[in-house]
C-alpha cells in the first residue's frame, strides 16, 4: 500500500483536464503533444508549422538574410497595452526591421514554470499570433520546456527571426555621416512607465499603455521611398539616450539633439517627475531612430507620418564631426549637457 502511494505521488501521470501546466507537459509524451496541438499550433497555424517537422524550410527568394534572437523575461507577464507575447514577437520583428529586413519567419521557444495556468499560456500564444499577423510574419518552428516550480518566473519566451534584405544599403552605426538628420519615430518612455506602474502597483490619472508595436512597415516604406537610410535603432532597454550614445561611440561622431523636439506623453512625464526617472533612459518597444541625409529628412518624415506607429515622428537632432564623439542635449532652457550611459537600471528616488 505504501509503495502504491509513493508511486502515485512520484509519477507525473496526466490527470485529465488540467488547467495548470505540469512537469508532464514538458515530458515529450501525449500531454505535451496535446498542449501543442490544442494551443500552440492552431494559434500560429501556417504551412511550415503544420508539417510538424523538426524545423521549417523557408523560401527565401533573392537578397541577403538577416537573423536575430532575443529572450523575454518581463514581469509581470501582462501589462497595459501588451504582454510577454506581444513583446516576444515585436521585439524580434523590430530587430529584423532595424537591419532594413523584411521579416520572414520566427521561431518561438517557451520555458514554462510548472503550475502556470493553461489559460495564461493560451492568452500569451493568442497575442503572439495576433501580433505576428499584424507584422505579416509567421511563427514556423518552436520548442517547449517545463521547469520545476520555483525554477522560472511563470513563463519565459525566446524568439529568433529571419528576414530578407532586399536592398543594397548598409544600415549600421558605422554608416552614419556628418550632416545626417536624426529622426525619432514618436514619443518616448511609455513602455518603461507602463511596466513599472503595474509591477509596483502605481496608479496615475490615466492608464499608461506600452508603445509595443511592430516597426517593419514604416522602415520598409522608407527604403521603398528611396530614402538613403544610414542607420536604424529601436529604442528598447536604456531608451533613446543609451541608443544614441552607442551610435555616437560606434560612429565616432557628435550627435546634437534638442530636448524640446523630443515628444513625451504628459502622463509619462508626470510619472517621471514623481519617481525621479529620466524618460530619455526609459524602455520603449515601438519606437526607433533613423539616421538619414538632412536633405531627405522632410521626405522621410512624410513617409513615417503615413504609418500609425510612426505618426508622431520628428527630427530631434543632427550629426556632426566635432567637437567629440558623444551626445549633447540642448536643454529646454538653452544650456547644453552631455548624455551619459547609466550604470544600471534607474532607481526611484527617496524624495
Amino acid at each position: 500500500m505504501a509503495d502504491a502511494l509513493n508511486f502515485a505521488a512520484n509519477c507525473p501521470l496526466p490527470l485529465g483536464n488540467q488547467d495548470h501546466v505540469t512537469l508532464a507537459h514538458g515530458g515529450g509524451g501525449r500531454m505535451m503533444h496535446n498542449l501543442l496541438e490544442r494551443i500552440v499550433i492552431p494559434a500560429f497555424g501556417n504551412q511550415p508549422l503544420a508539417s510538424r517537422h523538426d524545423g521549417a524550410v523557408l523560401d527565401v527568394g533573392k537578397g541577403r538574410l538577416a537573423f536575430t534572437t532575443d529572450s523575454y523575461v518581463v514581469h509581470p507577464l501582462f501589462f497595459p497595452g501588451g504582454d510577454i507575447g506581444t513583446l516576444a514577437v515585436t521585439g524580434t520583428v523590430n530587430d529584423l526591421a532595424m537591419c532594413g529586413a523584411r521579416p520572414l519567419a520566427l521561431s518561438a521557444g517557451f520555458i514554462i514554470e510548472e503550475g502556470l495556468p493553461i489559460a495564461t499560456l493560451e492568452r500569451v500564444v493568442a497575442s503572439m499570433a495576433a501580433t505576428a499577423r499584424a507584422a505579416s510574419v509567421n511563427i514556423v518552428t518552436g520548442d517547449t520546456k517545463v521547469v520545476d516550480r520555483g525554477k522560472g518566473d511563470g513563463l519565459f519566451v525566446n524568439t529568433a527571426g529571419v528576414g530578407v534584405v532586399e536592398h543594397a544599403l548598409c544600415i549600421a552605426p558605422t554608416s552614419v555621416r556628418a550632416g545626417d538628420a536624426i529622426l525619432c519615430s514618436g514619443d518616448v518612455g511609455r513602455h518603461g512607465v507602463a511596466v513599472m506602474a503595474v509591477r509596483e502597483g502605481l496608479q496615475f490619472d490615466s492608464t499608461i499603455e506600452t508603445d509595443c508595436a511592430p516597426l517593419a512597415d514604416p522602415v520598409l516604406a522608407l527604403i521603398a521611398a528611396r530614402i538613403e537610410v544610414h542607420c536604424l535603432r529601436d529604442l528598447t532597454r536604456g531608451g533613446l539616450a543609451t541608443s544614441l550614445i552607442e551610435i555616437a561611440e560606434s560612429s565616432r561622431l557628435h550627435l546634437a539633439i534638442d530636448e524640446s523636439a523630443i515628444a513625451i506623453d504628459e502622463t509619462v512625464s508626470g510619472a517621471c517627475e514623481i519617481l525621479g526617472l529620466d524618460p530619455l533612459y526609459l524602455a520603449n518597444e515601438g519606437r526607433f531612430v533613423a539616421f538619414v541625409p538632412a536633405a531627405q529628412a522632410a521626405e522621410a518624415l512624410e513617409v513615417l507620418h503615413g504609418h500609425a506607429v510612426s505618426a508622431g515622428a520628428a527630427c530631434i537632432g543632427t550629426v556632426s564631426e566635432s567637437p567629440a564623439a558623444l551626445v549633447a542635449l540642448k536643454s529646454r532652457i538653452g544650456t547644453r549637457r552631455i548624455l551619459d550611459m547609466h550604470s544600471g537600471e534607474q532607481l526611484p528616488r527617496i524624495c
Binding site: G270, E273, L326, R332, I338, D340, L347, P348, R349
Partner: protein
C-alpha cells in the same frame, strides 16, 4: 505639463540670468542645500548661465549621501537575515557599506524590496505575519511624516512584525554646523523647498540673524533656482540677511502643521552621525520610547554596533561645499558609480554622481583642449 513646463521656459530663464548678472558686483558663494537642487543645476547647466563672480556650492541635502556607513552596515546585516523582508527606497540599494550593498545582499538570497512608500512596507508586514518586515527610514524632514505615519499605524494596529531602521536627519542643524565651521565659504543659502513645505521656515529666522546670512526657500525647477539665486544675490548686494520664500506655490511660513504634529508624536530629536561630517548634536530623529518596540536596531541587537569610515573618500568635504567633486583625486578613476568609494557617487542626488553623469566629458574635452 502644468506647473512644471512653466518653470523650464527658456526666455524667462535667460531673463532671470540677465537680471542676476546686472546686479552682481562682487564675488559671492551660494550653497544649495538640497541634492535635488544640485541635480537640477548640473542637469540643466544653470551654473553656465550665471556670471563668473557667482559660485554655487553643493550642500549636504542628499539623504542617501549623509546616511553614515554604520547605518548602511546595520541595514546589510538585517537584510541578510532569513526571516526579514527588508524594504527600502530604490536609491539606497546601491549605497556601499563596508561589505557590499543591498543589491549584493539581494543577489545572495536576501529578501530586499524596493517600495515607494513606508505604508507599502506596513502592508507587507500585515500580509506576512510570519516574517519580520523592516523599513529603512531614511531622509530629511520631507520623508519623516510618511515614516512617522507608518510607525504610528503599526503601533495602533498592533502590527508587531514591523520595525524601522531610522536614519532621519534635519536641515537647520546641518546649516548651523556648516556656518560655524572655520572653513565655511558659504555666504547665502538656497533652503530646500520640500523640507520647508513640511516644516515651514520659521526655524531659519534665528540662523539668518545669528550668522548674518541670507536664506531663500527655493524650489527645484530651473526657474525656481535662478529666481532663488537672484533673491540671494539681491540680499547680499544690499547687505541684508533675511529669510525669504521663493517657493510660495508650495511653502507656507508655518509649514504643514498636522505633519509636524505626527512627527512630534512618533519621533524625538537626537544626535545623528552624518556620513563624512561626523556627529552633529540634535540633528536627527529617533523613535520615542512609546514606539521603541518598532525600532529595528534594538530588535536585531545592533544598537552598539559601530564602524569607522573610509579615509580616502572626501565626500565629507564635498557635502560641506569645501571641495568640488572634480577636486577629488579618486573622481572618475578609483571612484565611479559602478565602484563608488562614497555615497555622493551613488545617489541620484549626490554631487559626485551629478558631476560624473553630466560633466565628466567636459573635463575630458577641457584637458584635450589644453593639449592641442
Amino acid at each position: 505639463m502644468k506647473y512644471v513646463d512653466e518653470y523650464r521656459d527658456r526666455a524667462q530663464a535667460e531673463g532671470c540670468a540677465r537680471a542676476i548678472a546686472a546686479i552682481t558686483t562682487r564675488p559671492w558663494s551660494i550653497m544649495e542645500v538640497c541634492g535635488g537642487q544640485t541635480h537640477s543645476i548640473v542637469r540643466y547647466g544653470i551654473d553656465e548661465l550665471l556670471p563668473e563672480k557667482l559660485t554655487l556650492l553643493h550642500g549636504p541635502g542628499c539623504p542617501v549621501c549623509v546616511t553614515p556607513l554604520e547605518l548602511i552596515d546595520k541595514a546589510l546585516r538585517i537584510a541578510a537575515r532569513p526571516e526579514v523582508i527588508f524594504c527600502s527606497f530604490g536609491d539606497m540599494l546601491r549605497v556601499p557599506g563596508s561589505g557590499g550593498d543591498l543589491f549584493s545582499v539581494k543577489a545572495q538570497g536576501g529578501d530586499v524590496r524596493i517600495v515607494y512608500s513606508p505604508l507599502d512596507a506596513l502592508k507587507l508586514a500585515r500580509e506576512n505575519p510570519q516574517r519580520q518586515v523592516v523599513f529603512f527610514a531614511v531622509g530629511f524632514e520631507t520623508t519623516a511624516p510618511a515614516n512617522a505615519m507608518a510607525v504610528f499605524q503599526a503601533h495602533a494596529q498592533k502590527i508587531a512584525n514591523f520595525s524601522v531602521l531610522v536614519s532621519h536627519v534635519l536641515v537647520p542643524p546641518a546649516i548651523e554646523a556648516l556656518l560655524s565651521a572655520p572653513d565655511n565659504r558659504t555666504q547665502a543659502f538656497l533652503a530646500a523647498g520640500h523640507v520647508c513645505t513640511v516644516m515651514g521656515f520659521e526655524e531659519y529666522l534665528p540662523l539668518a540673524k545669528k550668522y548674518r546670512v541670507p536664506i531663500v526657500v527655493t524650489g527645484f525647477e530651473p526657474l525656481d533656482i535662478l529666481q532663488g539665486i537672484l533673491m540671494c544675490v539681491r540680499q547680499l548686494e544690499e547687505g541684508r540677511a533675511e529669510v525669504e520664500n521663493q517657493y510660495t506655490r508650495s511653502v507656507k511660513r508655518e509649514g504643514n502643521r498636522p505633519a509636524q504634529e505626527l512627527m512630534a508624536k512618533v519621533f524625538r530629536v537626537v544626535a545623528r552621525k552624518w556620513r563624512g561630517v561626523g556627529e552633529i548634536p540634535r540633528s536627527g530623529f529617533g523613535l520615542r520610547d512609546e514606539f521603541a518596540a518598532h525600532d529595528a536596531e534594538a530588535r536585531f541587537g545592533l544598537v552598539d554596533y559601530h564602524v569607522d569610515e573610509d579615509s580616502e573618500c572626501i565626500s565629507g568635504q564635498v557635502l560641506r561645499g569645501v571641495r568640488k567633486p572634480r577636486e577629488c583625486p579618486a573622481f572618475g578613476g578609483r571612484c565611479t558609480p559602478e565602484r563608488p568609494l562614497g555615497a555622493t557617487m551613488v545617489s541620484s542626488e549626490g554631487a559626485c554622481a551629478a558631476y560624473y553623469q553630466y560633466r565628466r566629458h567636459e573635463q575630458t574635452s577641457i584637458t584635450a583642449g589644453k593639449r592641442s
